[in-house]
Amino acid sequence: MTVVMAIVVGGLFAAGSYLLLRRSIVRLIIGLALLGHATNLFVFTMGWLRQGGVPLIGLSPSDRMADPVPQALILTAIVIGFATQAFVLVLSYRAHEETGTDDLDQMKVTDLL
């Protein structure tokens, strides 16, 4: 199961990175989302992929309980990711209003020289 997760996480990172390198802002946003999912799944896997028992010592055998702390961590990370995603979506809408384009190569107002 961990191997499957490793492949999924790796695939998400690869897809996210690829989309981040595109010129279109919409793809950029999807890339950020995939990168966030990859990170969350990675942290999730860190708490063992086991099922069947509540994580209380004495109530269930230790090979059936998963560590609940990473799950709590990614819950926090998901909420933060949700907030930033919402912000980026509004930002891209405003950018489209302001510049009339979805192409990052057209956004050169702040370029270095």
Binding site: L35, F42, M46, P70, L73, F87, T99, M107, L112
Partner: protein
């Protein structure tokens, strides 16, 4: 147990909540923000420093959960220094910003965002928990996204897209590193992590985590080659916001680098000392060379931010007590002086209505006070004796000589010379020469605007005047970073 350690986080948070509740009354929001940030300054001077002097390390267990299980807030001298700097800069820039936006022309939600930004910065300086550090970084970043786009101009939105995307990539890397550490050590408490990562079994994993943290914090603090987002985004924000970003925000990333390298990854830190120094030299050089080429004052100063990040990185790269002490003194100097120069640039911008150096001029005649402020702060930044920049750079260079890094010394001296050239070229063009073309009518420079910059400039002078005691504290803080024993003892004993 020091229960008051949460105050620098709670006060801005409560202030932000009150500001949102009072969103109809700008006057009430101004008052609430001033009180919230002033109270943190009072707290730092009145409570935090006496506690740190008495105990060395102050610790608070949030919710009274014992140390390795719950979240702890822990302040050593380095945290104390950074927190005090941030509180002072936050208050001074707030006064400046109130005057800048003028009566009733505030952007909506400036005050809550500004307070949340400082809640995040203070939390990052105080937390002793690696995931909590991630959360406070995100709080800080989300607030800074909001502050960056205040005004909604095209440049701001374009800059914000670049800034948001690179920040999120850096946060993802940071979170992967933190998750990896949890997977290896089963703890998030930084003191506990420091002990559990010390064994040989954890070494391969912590090496990977160290690289992830290095890149993640490297992006946030704009080191070579991860700096491109900074000059493309910071100058687009309103000048008071740019001042806080340039003066303080990049330094939070460096603080995290100092903290994680010394506490969590001492072995990797030693092994990569050469790479850190090479990155520091390239950061210094590329920053100042970028500044030489700029024709816009704010953008020029943004490149200068990168150059000075390099100096701060030298202190970490050397890894000696003298190096860390010099780095910490450099923090004190640069946070105050860099914020001050951005604020002075703002005064000049107000006066002539532009930051384009080709269109600026005649400021010495029109505003001799502003000219004096610029000259003083610029010379301090360039490192002219007897000002604070000279002492800070002297410390860094002396520590490099001690470590026999002669090439690094050469780069640092050349960069200082170029910094002087860049800042004096601004002096010659914007202040000394006659204004090209039609002179715009003199703008209004309110009392708050000018007085707050004078206060900050006086503090920059104070860093030089009080160099002895400050350097002594910096050396003690460096000692604490190198010998984690008392920190671990204080955190884990609670």
């Amino acid at each position: 147990m020091t229960g008051h350690l949460a105050f620098p986080i709670v006060a801005p948070l409560a202030g932000a909540a009150l500001c949102l509740a009072l969103h109809r009354s700008l006057r009430a929001q101004r008052l609430v923000s001033l009180v919230a940030l002033a109270s943190v300054v009072v707290y730092a001077v009145g409570w935090l420093w006496p506690t740190l002097r008495a105990q060395g390390v102050a610790v608070m267990c949030v919710g009274n959960w014992p140390a390795p299980y719950g979240i702890v807030l822990a302040a050593d001298l380095f945290s104390g220094i950074m927190l005090s700097l941030s509180a002072v800069v936050g208050l001074v820039v707030l006064i400046y910003a109130i005057a800048w936006m003028e009566n009733g022309r505030e952007e909506p939600f400036f005050y809550p965002l500004y307070l949340v930004l400082f809640m995040g910065i203070h939390g990052a300086f105080l937390t002793g928990d690696i995931f909590n550090l991630y959360v406070f970084f995100e709080v800080m970043l989300v607030a800074s996204f909001g502050l960056m786009v205040l005004g909604g101009e095209r440049a701001q939105i374009e800059g914000a897209i670049k800034y948001v995307v690179i920040s999120q990539v850096s946060s993802a890397l940071f979170l992967v590193g933190a998750g990896l550490l949890y997977g290896v050590a089963g703890t998030l408490n930084m003191a506990d992590l420091a002990q559990k990562l010390a064994g040989p079994q954890a070494a391969p994993y912590s090496a990977v985590a160290a690289q992830l943290f290095l890149v993640a914090f490297g992006i946030k603090s704009a080191v070579f080659p991860l700096f491109f987002w900074l000059p493309a985004s910071y100058p687009a924000a309103k000048t008071p916001v740019t001042a806080v970003f340039g003066g303080l925000l990049t330094k939070v990333g460096l603080y995290a680098l100092y903290r994680t390298c010394t506490l969590l990854f001492p072995a990797q830190w030693r092994a990569e000392s050469g790479a850190l120094l090479a990155v520091a030299a390239l950061t210094m050089a590329i920053g100042v060379l970028g500044a030489v080429a700029q024709r816009d004052l704010k953008r020029l100063l943004a490149f200068e931010v990168i150059s000075q990040v390099g100096f701060l990185l030298i202190g970490l790269g050397l890894g000696t007590r003298a190096g860390l002490a010099a780095g910490i003194y450099f923090f004190i100097h640069i946070v105050l002086a860099k914020t001050a120069i951005f604020l002075v640039a703002g005064l000049a911008e107000r006066e002539v209505g532009t930051t384009d150096l080709d269109a600026m001029g005649g400021l010495l005649r029109r505003r001799p006070g502003v000219a004096a402020l610029y000259l003083g702060v610029a010379l301090a930044l360039a490192g002219m004796p007897p000002l604070s920049g000279f002492l800070a750079k002297y410390g860094v260079i002396a520590a490099s000589l001690q470590a026999e890094q002669y090439a690094l010394v050469g780069v640092a001296l050349a960069v200082s010379l170029l910094t002087l050239y860049v800042l004096m070229r601004v002096w010659a063009e914007a202040f000394m020469r006659k204004a090209p073309g039609v002179v715009a009518p003199a703008g209004q420079l309110g009392l708050g605007l000018v007085a707050s910059v004078w206060v900050l400039a006086a503090l920059v002078v104070g860093v030089a005047v009080m160099a002895g005691p400050l350097y002594h504290v910096a050396e003690q803080a460096a000692g604490q970073l190198l010998d984690a024993g008392p920190y671990l003892g204080a955190v884990l004993a609670k």
